[in-house]
């Protein structure tokens, strides 16, 4: 039975889609708040589906049943206070159901107190600069060489042959798993926006202003995003890559980083 179900056409399409990694929905992500954000998104979505079923259902019913070709004589009512009160009041309540959890998450999103570490992220046309506040690690993060070559007009390089085309950088932002990372954003030129869907944060980098947001990744891994605010011709070419490492791997990375800089200083 189960197998039959799986072999059905929609099952196949679904399986195919899943294996080819076609994302059709917001990622649940790897932070507590990304999961909450996903829940809010789904809550709003299912309310819309429910309202849609009722509204489109009524409309379709009318389209089918109340046709002139079926010989229907038109009624001549033109208002109904009862109906109008109901369909004004009911949506207000539904909206309240959606607004409350959204507000709760917003409050948490704004709470960047007591971070374990802070990074200043500065937007440049067209790359990012990361400056670790708790050590003297600082570096630029630009589109990886492989994508850089392939992205040119008539480059002759098939984008499919490039791993993580347009979503790879030379130096990713590296953070430890489970640490509350405060991200301070600013810009050196025009507006940019720092977006990593799996961390559910997006915040504008604005010259003259320091913006603040935070995340705490619960799962180690590499998370990719992009600049989300139009910043000129290479706006499409300044990805964000965050590498979340286990504690010991992170300590190793830090050690390597500091060794590197002292090495170059001598």
């Amino acid at each position: 039975m189960m197998r039959k179900l799986l072999c059905s056409v929609p099952g196949l399409v679904w399986a195919g889609a899943a294996s080819a990694d076609y994302a059709v929905n917001m990622p649940k992500g790897v932070t507590e708040l990304s999961a909450e954000t996903y829940e809010i998104h789904m809550l709003a979505f299912w309310w819309c589906v429910a309202i849609g079923v009722v509204v489109f259902g009524a409309m379709l019913y009318s389209l089918v049943k109340h046709r002139k070709s079926k010989g229907v004589q038109p009624a001549d009512f033109s208002h109904s206070t009862m109906a109008e009160v109901v369909w004004t009041a009911l949506p207000c309540f539904i909206l309240l159901f959606m607004a409350v959890p959204a507000a709760e998450t917003m409050i948490k999103l704004e709470d960047s107190r007591d971070p374990d570490m802070s990074v200043v992220v500065t937007g440049y046309q067209w790359r990012w600069h990361y400056d670790y506040q708790d050590s003297d690690i600082a570096f630029y993060s630009s589109l990886a060489e492989s994508s850089l070559k392939a992205r040119r007009l008539e480059s002759g390089i098939d984008p499919y042959s490039v791993e993580n085309y347009l979503l790879e950088v030379d130096n990713p932002l590296v953070v430890p798993v489970g640490a509350k990372v405060r991200v301070l954003l600013t810009s050196n030129d025009v507006l940019h926006a720092w977006w990593v869907p799996d961390l559910a944060i997006k915040k504008d980098a604005i010259p003259g202003i320091i913006n603040e947001t935070w995340f705490k990744a619960d799962v180690a891994g590499t998370y990719r995003g992009q600049c989300a605010e139009l910043c000129g011709k290479d706006h499409g070419y300044m990805p964000v890559v965050v590498e979340v490492l286990e504690a010991d791997a992170y300590a190793e990375w830090i050690a390597g980083q500091t060794a590197d800089t002292t090495g170059s200083n001598e």
């Binding site: 917001m26 309310w47 489109f56 984008p159 085309y165 926006a193 504008d204 604005i206 010259p207 499409g236």
Partner: protein
């Protein structure tokens, strides 16, 4: 007066003060702009058909997105509704013409100049503006020689809109037939009255914002320059204080059009006429206090975010009332499905989908994910293409027989409808998925994981573009169609159906007598 016909040749169009001539010019102008803006969209979609850059450089790509949006918003949708207002409002309220006919001529003829200037920037050193239709500083200040021309053309568009709006308000408030008290006005007239107030309120704000950009660039001010103590975010507040009412400027007249058409083809009066008026007024009011929902990622205080979230969600309530009322109008009616009705029904369906994504966008935590992604692109195209544009098609098919005196080709009209509806969904529905999966908007190239939905969207866009040629065919062959009767449809309401088809050059030289007015409405 009555025996005085139009001038001959080009002079008729240059000097005309006739509301019908001016309406026609507005409509033709907006159709031309629709095709120019549409070609730019096709450049965008062709480039985005596959990953990798195939056809244009990123600089030019950004010029296309910017020009496409400016042309569609200010050149296609807005002038088309003003064209409809010119043609229909005097005929719907029993007035001989617009109240300020010379200004009417002026407000039209400014537009070709404004768009001539805007389009000429494509050939200037540094190219056309490329910072998005939102013109955010500091990026917009990196525009080349085109910059002052962009500002000047926006000023001209604003002047034209303000003059048009003044004219519409004065006409509606002063020139109605006897006994047409305000709450008796047709819905299209009502929604335009409200829209005209929105225009007068916000176009000067846009003009102020772009003037500050101009002085920042050339006269040493620092309104938006952090280095001089200014604030780049302030521009966004000012822009969206204009921008959000602007989106309602583009949809309220569409509500009016649909509210005329659905009753006609349901053979039933509009359900809840008065509550429609209140809902539209409510929407107009709320549209002034939700602007920062376009800016949830700029870093606002929590209290501000909460306020703008709640206010934005509230807009869904009067919008819902409108949709329920249209369904209430159809309910137990006697429906037929001529082309105008088909477009109006698709409007109700697909605009509602845009409303749903609007409500989702209002939820701040989710919006932080959606913002500046393709999800937003899907949202506003659902409300603008099968929303505003479909209502314009509906209006054109509905009143074309009145304008030309001939029935259009119904088969071609239906084909136009079905193809447009299929392709519009093929184009914009997958964009929801792209946005949720993480594709930012305004990028010329993308990671390979986004390839399939982009390919679908591009195929849809090309199909949609080609389908619009059927509309041109319908317009060009309309003259060959059967002669239209005065009433045209079986059961239309309103004064415009009491005059002959085609409507004579001058209508209602004397106000319609009470009896005519009453028959038209009851």
């Amino acid at each position: 007066m009555a025996d005085h016909g139009p001038d001959k040749g080009i002079k008729r169009w240059l000097y005309t003060t006739n509301h019908k001539d001016i309406g026609t010019m507005y409509l033709i102008f907006s159709l031309v702009m629709f095709f120019i803006g549409g070609s730019m969209a096709l450049v965008i979609r062709t480039e985005l058909m596959q990953p990798g850059l195939q056809f244009v450089h990123p600089e030019f790509f950004n010029q296309m997105t910017t020009m496409h949006a400016l042309i569609m918003v200010f050149g296609a949708v807005m002038p088309a509704f003003v064209g409809l207002a010119n043609w229909m409002i005097p005929m719907m309220i029993g007035a001989p013409d617009m109240a300020l006919p010379r200004m009417n001529n002026w407000s039209f003829w400014i537009l070709p100049v404004a768009f001539g200037i805007l389009l000429s920037t494509l050939f200037m050193p540094g190219g056309a503006p490329a910072s998005g239709w939102t013109m955010y500083p500091p990026l917009v200040l990196q525009t080349g020689d085109a910059f002052p021309f962009l500002i000047f053309s926006v000023h001209l568009m604003g002047i034209s809109s303000i003059m048009g709006a003044i004219n519409i308000i004065v006409t509606i408030l002063n020139m109605r037939a006897p006994d047409m008290w305000l709450l008796k006005m047709p819905m299209f007239v009502w929604t335009w009255l409200i829209t005209a107030y929105l225009l007068i309120a916000v176009m000067p704000v846009l003009a102020g914002a772009v003037t500050m950009l101009l002085t920042d660039q050339f006269f040493g001010t620092s309104f938006f320059l952090a280095a001089g103590g200014g604030d780049p975010v302030m521009f966004q507040h000012i822009f969206w204080f204009f921008g959000h009412p602007e989106v309602y400027i583009m949809i309220l007249p569409a509500f009016g059009v649909v509210s005329e058409i659905i009753p006609t083809f349901s053979r039933k009066p509009l359900f809840g006429h008065d509550s429609m008026v209140y809902a539209a007024s409510c929407i107009a009011f709320l549209s002034f206090i939700v602007w920062a929902h376009h800016m949830f990622t700029v870093g606002m205080p929590l209290s501000g975010q909460l306020f703008f979230m709640f206010a934005t969600m509230l807009i869904a309530v009067p919008t819902g009332v409108k949709i329920f009322n249209w369904i209430g109008t159809m309910w137990r009616g006697s429906l037929t499905f001529e082309t105008p009705m088909l477009f109006a029904l698709a409007f109700v369906f697909l605009f509602t989908i845009g409303g749903f994504s609007g409500v989702m966008l209002a939820m701040v935590p989710a919006d932080i994910q959606y913002h500046d992604s393709y999800f937003v692109v899907a949202h506003f195209h659902y409300v603008l293409v099968p929303g505003s544009i479909f209502s314009l098609f509906a209006a054109a098919y509905y009143w074309l027989p009145k304008w030309t005196g001939h029935m259009y080709n119904e088969t071609a009209g239906k084909l136009h409808f079905w193809l447009s509806t299929f392709f519009v969904n093929l184009t914009f529905f997958p964009m929801h998925f792209l946005g949720l999966a993480g594709m930012p908007r305004r990028i010329p190239d993308y990671s390979t994981q986004f390839a399939d939905f982009n390919w679908m969207a591009s195929v849809g866009a090309i199909g949609f573009g080609l389908s619009q040629l059927i509309f041109v065919y319908v317009l060009l062959t309309c003259k060959k169609g059967a002669k239209a009767t005065d009433r045209v449809w079986e059961a239309p309401k309103g004064l415009e159906w009491t005059v002959p088809s085609p409507a004579p050059y001058h209508t209602f030289d004397t106000p319609p007598v009470k009896r005519v007015a009453q028959e038209a409405f009851e």
